[in-house]
């Protein structure tokens, strides 16, 4: 089976098969000698042609997070069918067109400056998100009307949590 692995902005073609129940991976036309041993829930030892890597792998929303040395690699693995579907443009445009403002970092909502129905200009303060004692002003990305306010002061929010929804935004 052929996969396209995307790490950073780099695409790497992988061929994967099993021999005697063991996975064999071809990367850049070379099938390195591989050995993966699980050390703990998230931590693994990987030998690649004898080179030792201590890494952590966790599934993420659309792939895997791999911690290795100084970096966290976000690896997406897509097979041929995935790529065909994407090329046909069948990936629905779920969130990109909405006026949803999400939390850029996890934190606590300390104040909300807008209410439903309010007209806001681009750059106008919507609310204050406090994370680890630093106050961060969350501003409207574009002008529009506040349709929904998902949070109130005192709420703890995760990164990416919806905060406010704007409607009637030009270009959104």
């Amino acid at each position: 089976m052929i996969f396209l692995a995307t790490v950073g902005d780099r695409d790497i073609r992988l061929k994967m098969r099993r021999e005697n129940g063991q996975p064999v991976v071809e990367i850049a036309d070379h099938a390195p000698q591989l050995d993966l041993v699980q050390l703990s829930q998230s931590s693994y030892s990987l030998l690649v042609d004898g080179r030792s890597h201590h890494l952590s792998v966790r599934p993420s929303r659309d792939g895997y997070l791999v911690d290795l040395r100084r970096r966290t690699y976000h690896v997406r693995l897509r097979d041929e069918l995935d790529l065909i579907i994407e090329n046909l443009g069948l990936k629905d445009a779920t969130s990109d067109h909405s006026g949803e403002v999400t939390a850029p970092i996890p934190g606590l909502i300390t104040s909300v400056a807008v209410a439903v129905g309010a007209e806001v200009d681009a750059g106008e303060q919507l609310l204050i998100l406090e994370a680890m004692k630093m106050e961060n002003e969350i501003a409207a990305p574009k002008s529009g009307r506040v349709a929904v306010v998902h949070v109130s002061p005192g709420d703890a929010v995760e990164k990416g949590a919806p905060l406010v929804e704007l409607e009637g935004c030009q270009g959104l």
């Binding site: 790490v7 790497i12 991976v25 990367i27 591989l34 599934p59 606590l108």
Partner: protein
């Protein structure tokens, strides 16, 4: 001597204080918020008392509950650590009025040196130059604008009631002043319960150099040498070292002598730090005095061989300092990297989550102080410091190499930390040469965060292989095309299940 010590703090500093208690055979009482029930300082202490809900105003800043915890456990002394109530004169006074011993300088000293205006006045009296800025705290925007115009932009707005980069904003042009002024006041109010701020001129290419002093109640004040703390982001230190690779020997002596004078003039007791800015021409200016144990005290301990917390407990009990100035002969070089729950490669964005894995470095010349454990949830309620990694060497290059090695050994998985960023700093030529000032991070940020060829290519491939094998281990062994969608959906489902369970 103290019979039982309550530590009014959390995280790595609470753990640090408990360690000295153990060695001195003093029972330790931890206090904790509901968010910290299973934190290491609670696990390590002899007794632990819940002092309220997660927000610090209701727990670690809750004077009533902390004093009640001391009363109910029979503690006869309180160590405040750093941050929270450590420089709060009102709290110190309440502790003393309750008949307990306060580990730190007296309330009058806290008041005088905590009031930055009074501190500057005192510094001037003993002959220490100060940075140009507002004489009195500014309470309204007009006053802030007036001072800023007088001393000239860029200016710094600083909380009058505390430090640590909170309630602090740099303003480069007049237009930015109103917003920065409001944010700084609001942050200062929430962090220190004091919304007064003052305005100070920003110096060009400055070094942040501080002197550790120690004073007992018998009038002896000793300087334990300096720490260079110029590697900062958002005006918060991230890497410190001693001795400073920058200051001249005569400047070192002058700063030490002035710091001892300042400490004597404010009738200091216990450990304290006098902070200076030193410009590129070695002109120095008194900045402020930190009237508590500093985060970065371990590097001073590494070169002097002293346990500053144990010394604090002894002098608080009325004992004389166990050393005098002649005994202080710092040996070698020590570095500290602060481990924050922040992604150094993404503008130091805070990171929260579960510590899936923690593996500590060890070996010669390495010291790790931390307040986390595997399985601990890092919450957004408190300061993001998770711990501090220190390394000692006979020479500076040896200490730097050892630090790199120790940073490589330190694995914290589950939350993003500043470990990778600190590694990038250690490997930067300007840092290796000891040639840096407080603008180091902003000056070199692009190269510090850039990916090396090895990281992009070789390690990138290893990461891909790791992910592929991880995935393969979790899918059915058949590999024919018709089955691959369901097999693939297994991977996806697994990913979702894992996310839900986390």
């Amino acid at each position: 001597m103290i019979k039982k010590l309550l530590i009014a703090n959390r995280g790595e500093i609470a753990v640090r204080v408990i360690r000295s208690c153990r060695e001195l055979d003093i029972p330790a009482v931890a206090v904790y918020s509901e968010a910290d029930r299973s934190a290491p300082h609670v696990l390590m202490a002899d007794e632990a008392i819940c002092i309220g809900p997660p927000p610090s105003v209701e727990s670690y800043l809750n004077v009533t509950n902390i004093l009640e915890a001391a009363r109910s456990t029979g503690a006869d002394a309180i160590h405040p650590g750093y941050g929270f109530l450590s420089e709060n004169a009102g709290f110190a006074r309440s502790v003393l009025n309750t008949g307990l011993t306060w580990i730190g300088p007296g309330p009058e000293t806290l008041e005088q040196m905590g009031d930055k205006v009074a501190a500057r006045r005192l510094a001037l009296e003993v002959g220490a130059p100060v940075v140009p800025g507002s004489i009195e705290p500014v309470t309204d925007l007009a006053a802030a604008e007036k001072t800023a115009t007088e001393v000239g932009y860029p200016v710094l707005i600083k909380a009058a009631g505390g430090g640590g980069g909170k309630g602090m904003r740099v303003v480069t042009v007049a237009d930015e002043l109103p917003t920065a002024f409001e944010r700084a006041r609001s942050e200062a109010a929430s962090a220190f319960a004091d919304d007064r701020v003052y305005v100070e001129k920003v110096l060009g290419q400055p070094h942040h150099v501080e002197i550790q002093i120690f004073a007992d109640s018998h009038g002896r004040v000793v300087s334990l040498g300096e720490r260079e703390c110029s590697i900062q982001r958002r005006y918060q230190k991230i890497i410190e070292e001693t001795p400073s690779p920058f200051i001249a020997p005569e400047v070192r002596e002058q700063l030490s002598a002035l710091s001892v004078k300042i400490a004597a003039a404010c009738h200091y007791l216990s450990a304290g730090t006098v902070e200076f800015l030193v410009d590129g021409d070695q002109n120095y200016y008194f900045l402020e005095m930190n009237t508590r144990l500093q985060v970065e005290h371990p590097i001073t301990e590494l070169v002097t061989g002293l346990d500053l917390v144990a010394e604090q407990l002894r002098v608080a009990s009325g004992e004389s300092l166990s050393f005098d100035q002649d005994d202080i002969q710092p040996r070698g070089y020590a570095l500290e990297c602060r481990i924050y729950a922040e992604d150094g490669f993404e503008s130091f964005a805070p990171s929260t989550g579960n510590v899936l894995e923690l593996s500590a470095p060890s070996g010669m010349g390495v010291r790790l102080d931390h307040g986390i454990r595997q399985g601990l949830e890092i919450t957004p309620y408190y300061d993001p410091i998770l711990g501090k990694l220190c390394a000692w060497g006979r020479t500076r290059p040896e200490a730097v190499r050892r630090m790199v090695r120790a940073l490589e050994e330190l694995r914290i998985i589950g939350v993003r930390t500043t470990v990778p960023f600190c590694m990038a700093v250690m490997n930067h030529p300007a840092f290796m040469e000891g040639n840096y000032c407080t603008s180091f991070i902003s000056d070199y940020l692009p190269e510090l965060v850039s990916w090396s060829e090895e990281e992009t290519n070789h390690l990138g491939e290893a990461a891909v292989l790791g992910a592929a094998l991880f995935a393969a281990a979790r899918r059915p062994t058949t590999s024919d095309r018709t089955d691959s969608r369901s097999a693939k959906s297994d991977w996806v489902r697994l990913g979702r299940e894992r996310q839900v369970s986390q």
